[in-house]
C-alpha cells in the first residue's frame, strides 16, 4: 500500500498546475521520490490560493478602467481610442517635397526699362525639406526670360548711333538656398507661406539689332523674398507664389530686379 500511495502522490505532483492548491497540500511524509532533472515550476513559484486563473501572456487585460478625463469619478467602461488617419498624416517633418513651377516674369526699375513685356517664359524647380511641420529649407533653380521689342529705337554711343527695331532680352537664372515658414490656418488644406532665397543668379542682357547684337552677362549675389500659398490635397498640391528677385550690381553688369509669378505643383 505504501508503494501505491507513493506512486499516486508522484502522479498528482506531476499533473498539478503551477500554483495549484494540490501542490501545497502534499504532506511531507512519506519521503519524496528522487527529484526530477528539472523541477516543476509549481514547486518553486507558489501562488496564493485565492489567485484567479492565469491568462496567457499575450492576452490583453480587459479595457475596464476609469477614464482619466472623467471628472465625475464614476467608473465604467471607456471606449477604446485608436490612431486616426488624420493624425498619422498630419506630420510632414522629415519629408522632402519637390515642386515644378511655371514662372512668369515682369521687370522692375532699370530692368523694366530694358525689357518691359510681361513674360510667360520661365520655370522653377525646387526641393524643400521639412525640418518641422511648418518650416522647410531647400534649393531652387529657376529661369525667367524677360524681353521687349521696340520699333525706331536709337542705340547710341559717343560716336555711333543706330536707329532700328530692337529686340532686347534679359535671361535670369537664380540658384538659391531657400527657407519657408507655413501658416496653418483653420482649414489645413490651405497653407499660406512666406520665405526667402539667397544665393546667386546668372543674368544676361542681349540687345539684338537687325545686323548685330550686343551681349552682357554676369553672376550676381542675389536674394528673393517670397509669398505664396499651397493648396494641400493630401499627397500633393497646387502652389501659387510670387518672388521679388534682386540681383546685385556687379562690375560687369547692372542690377536686375524682377517679379516672378509662379504656378506649380508640389508633392508632399
Amino acid at each position: 500500500v505504501n508503494a501505491r500511495w507513493q506512486r499516486l502522490m508522484l502522479g498528482l505532483a506531476l499533473l498539478a498546475p503551477a500554483g495549484s492548491a494540490a501542490a501545497q497540500t502534499v504532506p511531507p511524509e512519506p519521503p519524496a521520490p528522487p527529484p526530477p532533472a528539472s523541477p516543476p515550476p509549481a514547486a518553486t513559484t507558489p501562488a496564493p490560493a485565492t489567485s484567479p486563473p492565469a491568462y496567457p501572456a499575450e492576452t490583453p487585460p480587459p479595457a475596464y478602467e476609469t477614464s482619466p478625463y472623467d471628472e465625475s469619478g464614476a467608473t465604467g467602461p471607456v471606449p477604446p481610442t485608436y490612431p486616426t488617419f488624420q493624425r498619422a498624416a498630419a506630420t510632414r517633418k522629415g519629408k522632402v517635397s519637390g515642386a515644378l513651377q511655371w514662372s512668369m516674369g515682369l521687370g522692375v526699375g532699370s530692368t523694366n526699362e530694358f525689357a518691359n513685356d510681361y513674360s510667360f517664359g520661365g520655370f522653377a524647380v525646387e526641393g524643400r525639406y521639412w525640418v518641422a511641420d511648418q518650416v522647410t529649407v531647400g534649393l531652387l533653380w529657376g529661369w525667367n526670360a524677360l524681353h521687349e521689342k521696340e520699333y525706331n529705337k536709337t542705340y547710341s554711343t559717343e560716336n555711333l548711333a543706330i536707329t532700328s527695331t530692337q529686340v532686347r532680352w534679359i535671361d535670369a537664372m537664380p540658384l538659391q538656398l531657400t527657407a519657408h515658414y507655413y501658416l496653418e490656418l483653420g482649414n489645413k488644406k490651405l497653407l499660406p507661406y512666406l520665405g526667402a532665397g539667397i544665393g546667386t543668379a546668372w543674368t544676361q542682357r542681349q540687345l539684338v539689332l537687325p545686323f548685330t547684337s550686343y551681349t552682357q552677362d554676369s553672376w550676381h549675389f542675389a536674394f528673393a523674398p517670397e509669398l505664396g500659398i499651397l493648396f494641400n490635397t493630401g499627397r500633393g498640391g497646387l502652389l501659387l507664389s510670387t518672388r521679388l528677385n534682386y540681383a546685385v550690381e556687379t562690375d560687369d553688369a547692372p542690377e536686375e530686379l524682377w517679379f516672378s509669378f509662379n504656378v506649380g505643383l508640389m508633392e508632399f
Partner: protein, 218 residues
C-alpha cells in the same frame, strides 16, 4: 508625383516652352534702319558752309547681287531732303564743291540689293475654317532693300597718305571722312512710299547726330 498630375505637368512644361518663342524681326518695319558715325570725338562747331556733289552716286558696283535703282524717283528726293536737313542744321550751301571752298562736302550715294531668305508658312492657314495640317512649305523670298549713304568730308583737312611710297612713288593726299550716315529700307515700289520714307529717314539721320549743328551741340 501622383500620376494624376502628369497631364498638368505636361501642360506646365509645354506652356513654359511655348512662351519662350523669341521676339524676332518679322515685319516690314523691321527692315528700316539708320546708322550714323562720326570721326571719333570730332568737333563740328567751326563748320559753316557745305556743298553737295551731284549726281547721286550709284554704289551698285560695290555691292553683292545689286538691283537697278529707280534713280529718277529716289535721286531728287535724296538731294532735296539732304539739302533741307543741312539747312536746318545751320549750314549755308555753296554751289561748287571745288571752286567755292566749302567747309564740308556732302556726297550722297544709293544702292539696292536682293536679300534672299526662306519663309515657312501654312497655305490657306485659317481660311474659312480650314487648317493645313501638313508641315509648312519653305519658300525662297527676296526682300529688295535700298540704302542711302551720305558721306561728309572735310576738304581742308587733307593729310598725306601714310602708305604712300610703299606701293609706288606717287604722292597721294587723303581727305578725311568726318561723318557717315546710312539709312536702309524696303526698296520702294511706289513713288508715294519713297516720297514719304526718304525724307523721314533722312530726318532721323540728322536727329541722332546733334553734334552736326552749326555752333556745336555735342
Amino acid at each position: 508625383m501622383n500620376r494624376h498630375y502628369r497631364p498638368i505637368i505636361g501642360i506646365l512644361l509645354a506652356t513654359s516652352a511655348a512662351s519662350c518663342a523669341p521676339a524676332s524681326f518679322d515685319d516690314e518695319d523691321d527692315t528700316d534702319m539708320v546708322i550714323t558715325m562720326r570721326q571719333p570725338d570730332k568737333d563740328f562747331s567751326s563748320y559753316r558752309t557745305y556743298a553737295i556733289t551731284e549726281p547721286v552716286v550709284d554704289l551698285g558696283a560695290y555691292a553683292e547681287d545689286p538691283i537697278q535703282v529707280p534713280h529718277s524717283v529716289v535721286d531728287p528726293l535724296i538731294l532735296s531732303s539732304l539739302e533741307q536737313e543741312m539747312d536746318e542744321a545751320g549750314y549755308m550751301r555753296v554751289a561748287d564743291a571745288m571752286a567755292d571752298n566749302p567747309d564740308v562736302v556732302v556726297t550722297p550715294g544709293v544702292v539696292a540689293t536682293n536679300n534672299w531668305g526662306w519663309v515657312s508658312y501654312y497655305p490657306w492657314y485659317g481660311y474659312t475654317g480650314y487648317y493645313w495640317y501638313y508641315p509648312p512649305v519653305p519658300v525662297p523670298v527676296n526682300t529688295p532693300l535700298g540704302s542711302v549713304i551720305i558721306t561728309m568730308l572735310d576738304p581742308n583737312a587733307t593729310m598725306r597718305d601714310p602708305n604712300a611710297g610703299q606701293m609706288d612713288d606717287e604722292e597721294r593726299t587723303l581727305v578725311p571722312v568726318i561723318w557717315t550716315g546710312a539709312m536702309r529700307s524696303l526698296l520702294y515700289d511706289s513713288d508715294e512710299a519713297a516720297a514719304q520714307d526718304i525724307p523721314e529717314l533722312m530726318d532721323q539721320m540728322f536727329d541722332q547726330s546733334p553734334y552736326l549743328k552749326v555752333g556745336g551741340a555735342q
